[in-house]
């Protein structure tokens, strides 16, 4: 169903390391990869999957390396891609960062990992926490290491016998707002991608149950008075019992140890965009371009957006920028053909203004200029746009200890784009 071999390549297409899983393809087919990739790009047929003869290449790019799988059969290609991203995560957790150098410096352990991650093209264990229990940087004496039971158990994400003096759980509810506004100010898309991330420091094999103000749950249990949030789509970490959720919307699970993402959710919103931008750009060809940007915070007064950055593109041949703002500071970033207006703290219900002026050369370039949308970055703590709330987190362990959950809420920007005229 899957990959024949995996390669990690540098940016020139040179093999840093490879592993042949099925032996049905000559390993040197990879020598053509880079050339084919460039050809596809020239023919504007670039895609993460392409066929050459009877071999398919499936690849992703991460930092300065390519991760490539080859296959000769009608492989489950979404699985191959998911697997490659899992590999990235495992390598990142092992070496802090995945890049050319970290692969070169750790080739022995990379080989060991590739051996455990996949067998004959079938993905095996890709949980770096569990892998770290028996594949480590230091050499081993044989007697010491054995396969951790978690490797094959139903609960394959948590080891037995964990012990903490203080049993604690931290929950972060993080909502990213995706916004797309057309150049005439219409909201085309407004969507929240939420995630509940956990840091779990609990002894033993605890059984957890999470309660949310889920609208469907309220409706089925007859609590129609409570205002619930309607989640459009929910995705869970593999530890959550999916059938149980499908049956009665209960989120029950044995958590992995440490940090992980318990669930993600998605919903469309009708609420006003949190930070609204109006722009007026006047371009006088051959002489200057003038910007007038208005930023408005449309959330409640008691909340505050921190580290707000408004990124506005400017023509590539602009120079000598002059700026004036009612709050924050503006910086011209020529290498990105943009200016960044930063506002450290932006309280709700406020409106700030910025004016900018650039000179343009008298000779105009022939090329069409792209006009990237205005992008906004921000963080609003103690606040969720959807109104989602953690009602309870029940923790049951057979030793009967008490553990306290801590909950934090934060809203931030996702893909937040406002097109300009």
């Amino acid at each position: 169903m899957s990959a024949s071999a995996i390669y990690i390549l540098d940016m020139k297409g040179k093999v840093l390391i490879s592993r042949n899983y099925r032996g049905d393809i000559e390993m040197n087919v990879i020598e053509k990869f880079m050339q084919l990739l460039l050809e596809k790009e020239d023919e504007s047929q670039l895609s993460p999957i392409f066929q050459h003869g009877d071999v398919a290449f499936v690849y992703i790019k991460y930092n300065n390396v390519y991760l490539v799988c080859t296959t000769k059969i009608n492989a489950n290609v979404i699985m191959v891609l998911s697997f490659l991203y899992k590999c990235v995560r495992v390598f990142c957790e092992y070496f802090k960062e995945l890049e050319e150098e970290s692969i070169r410096d750790n080739f022995v352990i990379v080989y060991e990992l590739l051996d455990e991650l996949m067998d004959f093209g079938f993905p095996q264990s890709t949980d770096s926490k569990i892998l770290q229990e028996y594949i480590t940087q230091e050499g081993h004496k044989l007697e010491e290491v054995r396969p951790p039971p978690a490797l094959t158990q139903t609960v394959s994400w948590r080891s037995d016998g964990l012990k903490y003096r203080k049993n604690e759980v931290f929950l972060d509810v993080i909502e990213s707002v995706n916004l797309l506004v057309s150049s005439n100010g219409n909201v085309l898309r407004s969507e929240i991608n939420g995630a509940i991330k956990m840091r779990v420091y609990l002894s033993g094999m605890p059984e957890l149950r999470l309660g949310l103000n889920d609208k469907i749950l309220f409706e089925t249990t007859g609590r129609t008075k409570n205002k619930g949030v309607e989640l459009e789509d929910v995705k869970f970490h593999q530890c959550v019992r999916l059938s149980r959720f499908e049956n009665d919307r209960t989120i029950s699970f044995v958590p992995p140890d440490g940090e992980f993402e318990l669930m993600s959710y998605r919903l469309n919103t009708q609420v006003k965009p949190l930070i609204w931008i109006e722009s007026s750009i006047e371009k006088h060809s051959h002489s200057r371009v003038e910007y007038m940007i208005k930023a408005k915070s449309q959330f409640k007064r008691r909340s505050t957006a921190n580290n707000v950055e408004i990124i506005i593109s400017v023509p590539s041949d602009a120079d000598t920028g002059r700026f004036k703002t009612t709050s924050g500071a503006v910086k011209y970033v020529p290498e990105k053909n943009s200016m960044i207006w930063s506002i450290k703290s932006f309280p709700g219900g406020k409106e700030f203004l910025m004016r900018a002026h650039f000179k343009l050369p008298s000779v105009q370039s022939q090329d069409l200029e792209a006009k990237p949308p205005i992008q906004v970055k921000f963080e609003i703590p103690y606040f969720t746009t959807s109104g989602i709330q953690v009602r309870y987190l029940k923790i049951i362990e057979k030793s009967g200890y008490q553990a306290l959950p801590w909950v934090r809420y934060i809203t931030q920007n996702g893909d937040y784009q406002i097109r300009t005229q």
């Binding site: 169903m1 840093l16 899983y21 099925r22 032996g23 049905d24 895609s47 993460p48 999957i49 066929q51 009877d54 398919a56 000769k72 059969i73 009608n74 492989a75 290609v77 979404i78 891609l81 998911s82 080739f107 022995v108 080989y111 060991e112 051996d115 067998d119 004959f120 079938f122 095996q124 050499g139 004496k141 044989l142 007697e143 290491v145 054995r146 396969p147 094959t152 158990q153 394959s156 057309s182 085309l188 991608n193 459009e232 789509d233 995705k235 869970f236 970490h237 959720f245 499908e246 993402e261 993600s264 998605r266 090329d367 200029e369 792209a370 006009k371 990237p372 893909d415 784009q417 097109r419």
Partner: protein
């Protein structure tokens, strides 16, 4: 010199490593192995060190052991003899107390694809499959799949498949998972579910998986649901609910990494075509983001068009206009094209689309203008006489058009609206000046446009213009299409201008609003491959994969025959298909399609007048809906019985039958009647089972020789028969594509018996979509010969207007048996003795139907196997039979029949041993037939 030094240095390096590998000190050894692996990693050849590295295998250091194993996997193939050295250590490691070592050993052994090692793998593998540790068992399960890949026979013989099946009920989930993976790899067949209830219960169990965080799990769940949905009553609430549940997870996939988004989008494209309901309200999620990679942008655009309808067109159009001003040329082009598609799809919005296109043309961005003109031509096709006011604007841009498609489109527009463009002749004349340098697409279009102009405005058009273009194309070009079209126009114009007008200016068929739709059969197959490469390429697996992994999958068939709703559904979808047939799909090569239709389009209505004018006595030959009964009757009479009917109008083609039928017959009853009447004459085509012709010679049922998939929509099935002592190739041609097919022709490759067509293939074309034609082709055996393996293989090439297709079929040997094989007793005995003993084949035949000896003889005789003599020896009936092949080979046979026993002792002699086995098969087939 330098190379020599380098080689020396390398030698030194290898030598040093060798010394270190053989060091007593453990650490040095380990470091040395690491160095070897490092060299291997950067692609240096360190295979010379094989024995030294293998020596390090016996170590209690796990890391070292892993490295040595890695080395083994890499080099075992190049040093198979040496690899045997490792076998003992492998076997030992499979018994190691540490499960990690046991698993490592069994995993590595399976990766060493050396036959001699494989033999030694069986025992350790058997042990590991029953290991107490699940980690070892899960590794062993995968190893069975590895072994199967190397030596299938071994896996079968050793009973590993049963052991693997046992692991399906293992207590450990990972073991079960790997066992499932291994088994599905070995036999890619899923159990058949036919029942509505069962399908629902599968769906209920799968649905929760849509909430899994892993995109691969989600998409696989989608695949299963899409498949099983087919089995459930389409109007049930269950299906509606499932449709609702499928949308959110599909949308969420678009928040994943771009590469995964891409795969998701390619699959959504299929899902939208199969079940448009699911995502009909999700248009906005496919709006393109500025920072999407180009491959995501293009896919989103495609889906946007599929989802466009009257309610969301305003939004879509605003988006497309935005995209058309971006900088990426391919994306902009596709966006402009999309605007045109919207206009064709949503009539209410056509005017807005046109004005958007005009706005874009005003930008004067060259590629935008050209693309816009190409799509405007389609809009004119769809809404004739509605937007010609914009022609003036279009004409302003004549000079900037440098792409053939844009030029051809512009010329088409001028020709089509010649009567409203005052200076049409000047414009076309302008194009004509550079005629020779134009692309053939433009040339064809220009020829047609000028002829149109002439027919529309005969008085104003300079005669000289027409003469000039006709002279150019008929005398100064090498392009046969162009020349042919030129001649056709010329003759039409000179013989009957009225007919010319009817042909050239005929009303055009509508163009379809849905473009680039996949063929329904292909779509169904791809739905079964959601998430795989096939779903990304939109091609069936056998188009890019060889061997056993390319097994064809199909959506399950609904068994709801008793279900009225389902039946209606089928009917309505058939209606849809029919409607689709009547319209033309705009393909990639629009210009050339139009060309075809300028000529082909009017055929059904004008054909008769034309042929009459030409004085041909074949009025019915090309009519689109032939009289079913007459055709079949006359052909049957003409061939099989040789009655006076041969003097029917079709007598020009006495040997060829053409039975044309449409899938939805307006009078199904009469068709059945025909089947009843003539079914046993093997012309109905629809009846199955073994069939006899009049003389009751045995004919195999028709089998599919060329699938619609391989034949780009053309399906060919057929068989061989011997009729009136002639070899006849009987075929059905079925057009499963959306467009008519024409120009069918057939050729046979050189073959063992020199088979060659006695006449060209005569099928009345065009063959319309969903039309089925049966034909018979008489073959001679005087063609060029070439020995085939097996002898009965025949390679066939079939050509139509789309492509040339090749396939191979088998001609049963008895087809070659000739009538004149009757020999006398003495000659038989003489021949029998002449053939050496070693050529004799003995075999047990089954008298399946318990025929009497007379019946048996008759049956064989009707297949030209003649009994020379019959005697009784030791209370057993002896039949001596002879047959002669078309190429003169004589085969002699002796049948020994014990009364009351259905087993016949059979022996056979021939000078050519190659045919002996085939003749035995022929006996079996004939005796087994009804």
């Amino acid at each position: 010199m330098a190379a020599m030094y380098e080689a020396e240095a390398k030698k030194g390096e290898i030598y040093e490593l060798k010394a270190e590998l053989n060091s007593d000190k453990r650490d040095r050894k380990k470091e040395a192995v690491k160095k070897v692996i490092a060299s291997m990693t950067v692609g240096k050849d360190v295979s010379q060190l094989f024995p030294d590295v293998v020596n390090c295998m016996q170590t209690d250091n796990l890391e070292l052991k892993k490295l040595v194993y890695l080395y083994l996997m890499n080099y075992a193939k190049t040093q198979p003899e040496m690899a045997i050295l490792a076998v003992n250590t492998f076997a030992k490691d499979c018994n190691d107390p540490n499960p990690l070592i046991r698993a490592l050993a069994v995993r590595t052994m399976g990766c060493i694809r050396v036959d001699k090692i494989t033999e030694h793998l069986c025992e350790p593998l058997r042990k590991c499959l029953k290991d107490e540790d699940p980690y070892v068992r899960k590794t062993a399960a995968v190893c069975v799949a590895k072994l199967y890949d190397i030596n299938q026979q071994l896996v079968d013989d050793q009973g590993f498949l049963d052991m693997l099946r046992d692991l399906l009920s293992d207590s450990n989930p990972m073991v079960v998972a790997n066992a499932v993976a291994a088994l599905s790899e070995i036999a890619e067949q899923s159990p058949q579910t036919k029942d509505d209830k069962e399908a629902q219960s599968v769906c209920e169990r799968i649905t929760p998986r849509l909430a899994h965080a892993n995109a691969a799990v989600v998409l696989s769940a989608v695949k299963v649901l899409m498949k099983f949905l087919e089995l459930i009553d389409q109007h049930s609430e269950f299906v509606q609910n499932l449709h609702r549940k499928l949308a959110p997870p599909l949308v969420t996939l678009l928040s994943a990494e771009p590469e995964i988004q891409y795969v998701a989008l390619r699959n959504i494209n299929l899902i939208v075509q199969k079940r448009p309901d699911i995502l009909k309200n999700e248009m906005k999620v496919f709006f393109v983001k500025y920072n999407d990679p180009i491959y995501v942008k293009l896919e989103k655009l495609d889906i946007m068009i599929r989802l466009t309808n009257a309610t969301n067109i305003a939004q879509v159009l605003a988006e497309l206009k935005e995209y058309a001003t971006e900088v990426d040329v391919d994306f902009v082009r596709k966006s402009v094209r999309a605007i045109g598609r919207c206009a064709i799809k949503v009539e209410q919005a056509a005017e807005r689309c046109v004005s958007t296109l005009i706005d874009l043309i005003q930008t004067k961005v060259n590629y935008v203008v050209q693309e816009a003109i190409v799509v405007i031509k389609d809009i004119f096709r769809k809404y004739p006489n509605k937007y010609e006011s914009i022609i003036a604007t279009l004409c302003e841009n004549l000079d900037s058009l440098d792409e053939p498609e844009a030029r051809a489109s512009m010329i088409w527009i001028i020709g089509e609206y010649a009567e409203r463009i005052d200076n049409a002749d000047e414009l076309l004349e302008g194009f004509l000046d550079g005629f020779k340098d134009e692309n053939s697409q433009v040339q064809l279009q220009l020829l047609t446009a000028i002829v149109k102009l002439f027919l529309k405005k005969p008085t104003e058009t300079p005669q000289e213009l027409v003469t000039r273009v006709l002279t150019l194309v008929t005398q100064e070009t090498d392009n046969p299409d162009l020349r042919d079209r030129g001649y056709i126009y010329w003759r039409l114009l000179s013989t009957d201008p009225k007919a010319a007008k009817e042909v050239v200016l005929a009303e055009k068929p509508l163009i379809s609003e849905e473009t680039d739709l996949l063929e329904p059969t292909l779509l169904d197959e791809l739905i079964c491959h959601i998430g795989t490469l096939a779903s990304v390429y939109h091609k069936p697996p056998n188009a890019f994969v060889e061997g056993r992994h390319s097994l064809k999958k199909n959506l399950p068939l609904r068994s709801g025959d008793d279900d009225d709703g389902a039946g209606q559904d089928m009917l309505s979808s058939n209606h849809q298909q029919q409607q689709q047939q009547q319209t033309v799909v705009i393909g990639a090569n629009v210009g050339s399609l139009i060309d075809d239709f300028d000529i082909l389009g009017p055929m059904p209505t004008t054909q008769q007048t034309i042929t009459n004018n030409m004085g041909q006595a074949q009025p019915r030959a090309a009519s689109a809906v032939p009289n079913l009964l007459d055709d079949e009757l006359s052909s049957i009479l003409a061939i099989d019985s040789n009655i006076g009917g041969a003097q029917t109008p079709q007598s020009q083609i006495p040997i060829m039958t053409t039975a044309t039928s449409f899938p939805i017959n307006p009078a199904p009853k009469s068709a059945n009647l025909l089947d009843d009447l003539f079914g046993d004459l093997n012309l109905g085509g629809g009846s199955s089972g073994l069939l006899y012709s009049g003389s009751s010679a045995f004919v195999l049922p028709k089998e599919i020789w060329l699938s619609a998939q391989k034949g780009k929509g053309l399906e060919v099935s057929g068989t061989f028969a011997r009729r009136n002592n002639q070899i006849v190739m009987e075929m059905d041609f079925f057009n499963k594509a959306l467009q008519p097919m024409s120009d069918l022709a057939l050729q046979l490759n050189r073959n063992s018996f020199g088979l060659t067509p006695a006449q060209p293939l005569q099928v009345t074309t065009p063959l319309f979509p969903n039309q089925n034609v049966s034909t018979q082709l008489v073959l001679n055996t005087n063609g060029p010969m070439m020995k085939m393996e097996p002898l009965t293989t025949l390679q066939v090439a079939i050509k139509n207007n789309v492509d040339v297709f090749y396939f191979a079929c088998t001609v049963p040997i008895h087809i070659y048996f000739t009538q004149d094989s009757e020999t006398d007793k003495m000659a038989f005995v003489q021949s029998w003795q002449d053939i050496p003993e070693s050529n004799e084949i003995k075999h047990q035949l089954q008298n399946v139907h318990g025929l009497s000896i007379d019946d048996l003889q008759n049956k064989l005789c009707s297949n030209n196997i003649h009994t020379v003599t019959r005697t009784i020896i030791e209370q057993k009936e002896m039949l001596y039979q002879a047959m002669k092949l078309t190429n003169g080979i004589v085969v002699l046979a002796e049948l020994k029949i014990t009364p009351g026993n259905r087993t016949i002792a059979f022996s056979l002699k021939t000078k050519v041993p190659d045919v002996a086995k085939l003749v035995v098969q022929a006996y079996e087939l004939i005796l087994g037939s009804n």
